[in-house]
Amino acid sequence: MDKLINVSPSPHVAGDYSVKKIMYGVVLALLPALAASIYYFGMGAIVVTLVAIASCVIFEYLIQKFIIKTKPTISDGSAILTGLLLAFNVPSNLPIWIIVIGALVSIGIGKMSFGGLGQNPFNPALVGRVFLLISFPVQMTSWPIPKGFNTGYADAVTGATPLALMKEGLGNNETVSNIMNSIPDHMQLFYGSMGGSMGEVCALALVLGFAYMLIRKIITWHIPVFLVGTVFAFTGILHLVNPEQFADPLFHILTGGVLLGAVFMATDMVTSPMTPKGMAVFAIGIGVITVLIRTFGAYPEGISFAILIMNACVPIINRYMKPKRFGEEVKNGK
């Protein structure tokens, strides 16, 4: 033994955890949903995913190398994850140049401008998505209809999402049961056979991903359960009040981005609260804002806005929602 021995303070052992493992764990959890998108939308899903991932990784590399001038950390998997989530949040026929702009906004403005991994207040993929939605409303809302995995990238047939049909129908003073006739039944919605952002359609695949992340202990159950529960309860009450004016709660959960948002977007560690109590407040807030936008707002879907709004509230949630301290509540009469 040479004379140099290490004298760092305790603890002297560390668990088998790393940022990389978490990031790739989430990527793995997204694979069922990716497979479902390819199954429903074909080539388009593959093109959009590859372009989004590649441009996110390249932009992160270039920004770190030439603008911030630090050692690029693209191997940690966070840029890949952002790219994948961005792809999940756009239609599968989105022109490549728009995807590249989305990736630049996600990585450049959403993440690196705040200082990179761990510093961003807003979910980078959603920053990109909302930027695109506002800048390119036509391309971002022309949703391909699921036509099977041999659909080419360019020849997708577009149509409206169930949420858009609902909004439009209600706007024309139609009744919910009337509109429901032109929408697939709930089981079809659960399997994902509908128009929508490429990663959000298949509830089954998203639930599988959720189960995987729970088992691997990547996330806790709090945010997804509270978020979906809130949407269910809120839309359920509205539905009970007037079933012809407000769609049923299952419809709201199975359509649009509620499940993708609840499982993968709102649970983003960097932009969500640190305690279970805080997570509950955060998730309930997202649920309420989503339903408000969907039922009373101008947009048919509001989960992206809801998550970004609640992202902004995270610092204040963390300030007031403290963990229960040991010895704070003394039990058993002593």
Binding site: N6, P9, P11, V13, Y17, D76, V270, E328, V330, K334
Partner: protein, 443 residues
């Protein structure tokens, strides 16, 4: 379902390599280096001088305050000098150095191994014996034990908890002691119960030591009022507050001592030392030390005289492996890395742990991804990430308000951090600064 504490905790790889190695009496060293401050509180003041002849068991330094403890010679021979020597903390501390000649014990010490079951003692006599014998908490905290036995006015002790958890990975000293000196340890427990005037005693043992649980359960059948409580394996269950929560489901309020909820906690090693002091008149001059590590050829448990150099124990366990990168006094979660392998074994040394080069260094620090794992595992319900940030910004008021002083430095946060952030390093820094601020405010 097995009992455990509720909040937080981690489960590091147990690595109890020496669990089946019986306790072997280590060779008496040629020179014993006995520090004067082996306990929390004021160092003892020496009552021998250079050239004095001492016997095994003789008091060589006397308790010098309320929180202090006597120090006895663990060897016989001549006092060579009293000098400042680097100890396990890395600082120079006054030590009495004795050149060993033979092994001559004080006559009043009963060295027979017959079990003395006589429980006819008065509380005050036991407390006095414990004080005279220089017994301190052998779990590692080294708080003088007689103080814990004197219940402050206005408080009542209801239950004595004996800590046989040994939640630190690798260490097996307490485990072996429970197996090999079980009955003595139970008698010691009984003596502690008499001293405190309590009728209930419980021994908490983690379920990864089924042999010890079974063995003690057999013995306690003959001793009224003592219960063996198997606990689910979870670190840091050996922490005093966590053990109380696990066994009797009471939470010690922030900033107070266990007596606040009617509990007194002693380690199994301490219970054994109490047995020896009261029944055999033998002061605390040796203890069980585990010498272990993945590269150690014979992971062992030794009965070691206080003052034995660490190097001697490493030799006895098969020598220092070539690729050693770190040597820790204590367990991997809370032990202290040694800068000098010659440091003596003291009353608080529970183990010597050798790490290979590739286990010795920390991983590269990465940015916090706010995954909240540190918050989830903190057994005290703190927010380690926040304490680190606020300490870094020297925002001491926030650090104090977020209860940094409650931290028990168990290291669970750092163990679990995926970004390998030095959370506990910063929290220690914050604790020491905030501690100074609180003290200066009181003056």
């Amino acid at each position: 379902m097995l009992k455990t504490f509720k909040k937080g905790g981690v489960h590091p790889a147990e690595n109890k390599l020496s669990a089946n190695a019986p306790i072997v009496t280590a060779e008496i060293p040629k020179t014993a280096t006995i520090p004067l401050g082996q306990h929390i509180g004021a160092p003892a003041s020496p009552i021998v001088k250079k050239g004095d002849q001492v016997k095994v068991g003789q008091v060589i330094a006397q308790s010098s305050g309320f929180v202090s403890a006597n120090i006895h010679s663990s060897v016989s021979g001549t006092v060579a000098k009293i000098d400042d020597i680097i100890d396990a903390t890395g600082f120079k501390k006054p030590c009495i150095i004795i050149t060993v000649e033979g092994d001559e014990w004080l006559e009043e010490i009963n060295r027979s191994s017959d079990i003395d079951k006589n429980l006819n003692h008065k509380s005050a006599d036991i407390i006095n014996k414990v004080k005279e014998a220089g017994i301190v908490g052998l779990g590692g905290a080294t708080f003088p034990s007689h103080i814990k036995l004197s219940v402050p006015p206005g408080k009542t002790a209801e239950v004595l908890l004996i800590n046989g958890v040994e939640c630190e990975p690798y260490l097996t000293a307490d485990h072996r002691l429970m197996l090999e000196k079980g009955e003595e340890m139970i008698i010691g427990t009984k003596l502690l119960m008499i001293a405190l005037g309590v009728s209930k005693g419980a021994i908490g043992i983690e379920n990864n030591k089924p042999d010890a649980i079974k063995h003690l359960q057999e013995i306690v059948k003959n001793y009224e009022g003592i219960e063996v409580v198997p606990l689910k394996v979870k670190y840091p269950q050996g922490g005093e507050k966590q053990l109380i929560k696990a066994v009797i489901n009471r939470e010690v309020p922030s900033g107070t001592l266990p007596i606040e909820v009617g509990a007194v906690v002693h380690n199994v090693g301490t219970a054994f030392a109490v047995y020896e002091a009261v029944q055999k008149n033998k002061p605390l001059l040796e203890r069980v030390v585990t010498v272990t590590g993945k590269s150690v050829s014979n992971p062992s448990n030794f009965m070691v005289r206080i003052g034995t150099p660490t190097t001697q124990l490493i030799e006895a366990a098969g020598g220092l492996p070539q690729d050693t990168g770190k040597v820790v006094s204590g367990g991997p979660m809370m032990g202290k890395a040694l800068s000098n392998l010659g440091v003596p074994i003291t009353k608080g040394s529970s183990g010597v742990l050798l790490f290979k080069k590739d286990e010795a260094s920390r991983r590269l620090i990465q940015p916090c991804i706010r995954c909240a794992k540190c918050v989830t595992v903190c057994p005290m319900g703190l927010e380690p990430y926040l304490l680190m940030n606020q300490t870094e910004m020297q925002n001491w008021e926030e650090v104090e308000n977020n209860r940094t002083m409650d931290c028990i430095e168990c290291g669970s946060c750092m163990y679990t951090c995926p970004a390998d952030r030095p959370l506990l390093d910063y929290i220690r820094l914050g604790k020491s600064t905030v501690g100074n601020i609180i003290r200066s405010r009181k003056q």
